[in-house]
């Protein structure tokens, strides 16, 4: 299968079941909402080293937020449901609570699984906090030096999919980066999906474990590293000199598929030889995204 002369390899991306929350951050203006969101989602690229993965899903107009102010939706994921509230309490407490003018709302109000995140953070108020129930939702008002910080008492949690991916095999680094940027631009508008890595792009895709170091749980994906082509079992086709990976997390498999479809289509451009995907033989993750099936539909 080829798209615009780019080979779509007959392989699949292997992804995992995760737990996700959607955090809505509003601010006096979009700038301050973004400041908080960027801190919240900073150092949240991979559960391997960050214990969570997060990204900005999309901007929200005032008509979409509980307080009518501009905001951002952030998707926040962990590998298990026990760690999600703890990570949220840590990060919201240090990034959104501290950020001027912001308020923090649940973006999965229909989810039956509830995390008592705001309820935990309220104690920063040292007993001076108070709550308000509006439309059946309880909000906590935490007094701070600026005025008050407002946060939903609970946040919804749902199953999600983490680790969707595809690889862009370019003739050179510029071609791979240009294709990756185009892919990210095409995937940005897709709802329910985030790209947790810097600019949505990964240059250091990994394999499970290590050939040499027993304590390493992930090391460089030598099969796709161009500089190792001559000394390892390479997976690189002729003419490929740089590979970039797009990793995506989403609230469900259809969202991942839609984003992969848009991203791969955009990445198939001159200078790209092939599109591939990372997997572990299908034995680790329950979600398999077959590239040709996705691009054929």
């Amino acid at each position: 299968m080829q798209i615009n002369g780019v080979v779509i390899e007959d392989t699949f991306a292997e992804a995992f079941t995760m737990r996700a929350a959607r955090i809505v951050i509003t601010g006096k203006n979009a700038k301050w909402a973004r400041e908080a969101a960027l801190k919240l989602t900073g150092f949240a690229t991979s559960v391997i080293g960050c214990k969570c993965e997060a990204g900005i899903e999309r901007e929200l107009a005032g008509t979409e937020t509980p307080d009518g102010r501009p905001g951002l939706a952030v998707l926040f994921l962990t590998m298990d449901k026990e760690s999600l509230p703890q990570r949220l309490i840590e990060r919201l407490g240090q990034t959104v609570l501290t950020c001027p003018t912001t308020a923090c709302f649940d973006g999965l109000t229909a989810a039956p699984d509830r995390l008592a995140v705001g309820k935990a953070l309220r104690v920063f108020g040292d007993g001076f906090q108070g709550s308000k129930v509006v439309g059946g939702r309880r909000y906590w008002r935490v007094p701070v030096m600026e005025g008050e910080f407002l946060i939903d008492e609970t946040f919804g949690m749902q199953k999600a999919v983490g680790g969707g991916n595809f690889l862009i095999l370019g003739e050179d680094a510029d071609a791979a980066l240009g294709a990756a940027e185009a892919a990210v631009g095409a995937m940005d508008p897709i709802p329910g999906v985030v790209l947790p890595f810097p600019g949505g792009v990964v240059r250091s895709g990994s394999k499970v474990g290590s050939r040499r170091y027993k304590n390493m749980i992930a090391t460089t994906n030598d099969a796709y590293s161009p500089t190792l082509r001559a000394i390892t079992a390479t997976a690189l086709p002729e003419g490929v000199n740089s590979v970039l990976e797009i990793v995506l997390d989403g609230l469900d498999a259809p969202s991942i598929e839609a984003a992969m479809r848009a991203g791969i289509q955009a990445a198939c451009r001159p200078g790209v030889r092939a599109i591939s995907a990372g997997n572990y033989g299908g034995k680790l993750g329950p979600h398999h995204f077959h590239l040709r099936k996705i691009m054929g539909t």
Partner: protein, 254 residues
């Protein structure tokens, strides 16, 4: 089962009608004949609801009451859920001691709207009372939880002894509002003559009011002005003769 139960007053009321049987959650399980047979008192005489109202619809938690109800007292008493819409003015004690659901009055209300019984330690414990008009006297006395919104004026006993919850008055409030307030918020758009036992804290933009006002706009269609949504409010803490954890929020301008 109908979408709505509609109760239409048959004739103008010449005497007070004690109509506490009219509550959305109670009518939700009843057929037309059972609704018509609900007990009601008119001028201290026992009767049934069907003597005074025509009943259309059944087994619905959304109830509309139509007619000149200025003398109909206690509508929505103890209501725990559902939606009760009153088309026109209503008498005293509307939404008395309710614990859930919404009472929406498209007119003025008599005294003790969203209030408590005489001598009771608490009144409303949940739900929402929307009065698209004025209250002839107190509102939300000894409210424990819930919300009362008055788009017109309210009396000085409004929020008296409130334990928690929120009262919003778009119009003027008579002097003395919030006396014995323990917790809870009383929000006003005009100057409020507070008891001396309230103390000024600051002037700021309370974030919860933005959530509240957008909810009132979106869910209830109330015309909350932009200036009131995004404006600043003087915060007065009180009643310091009580717990002192309550607040009066008076609009201070944009």
């Amino acid at each position: 089962m109908s979408d709505w139960v509609v109760l239409t007053l048959r004739a103008a009321l010449e005497h007070p009608l004690e109509a506490s049987c009219i509550a959305a959650d109670r009518l939700a399980a009843l057929g037309e004949r059972e609704i018509s047979a609900l007990p009601i008192r008119h001028d201290r005489q026992a009767g049934v609801l069907g003597d005074f109202f025509t009943v259309r619809g059944e087994r619905a938690a959304r109830v509309r009451v139509v007619g000149g109800l200025d003398a109909a007292d206690g509508i929505g008493t103890g209501m725990a859920g559902g939606e009760l819409v009153i088309e026109g003015n209503v008498g005293r004690d509307v939404g008395l001691e309710m614990s859930g659901g919404t009472v929406d009055v498209n007119g003025n209300a008599g005294v003790n709207a969203g209030g408590a019984r005489p001598g009771a330690t608490r009144g409303v414990t949940g739900g929402e009372v929307i009065i698209r008009g004025s209250v002839a006297g107190d509102a939300a006395a000894r409210m424990r939880r819930g919300m009362v919104v008055v788009t017109g004026d309210a009396g000085g006993g409004t929020g008296q002894g409130m334990i928690a919850g929120t009262v919003v008055v778009f119009g003027s409030i008579a002097a003395g509002v919030g006396r014995f307030l323990k917790r809870g918020s009383i929000v006003g758009f005009r100057d409020i003559e507070r008891p001396a036992t309230f103390r000024y804290a600051c002037t700021y933009q309370p974030p919860h009011l933005q959530v509240l006002f957008h909810y009132l706009r979106r869910h209830h269609g109330l015309p909350v002005a932009d200036a009131h949504v995004t404006g600043r409010y003087h915060r007065y803490s009180g009643d310091l003769a009580e717990l002192g954890r309550g607040e009066i929020l008076q609009w201070a301008g944009e």
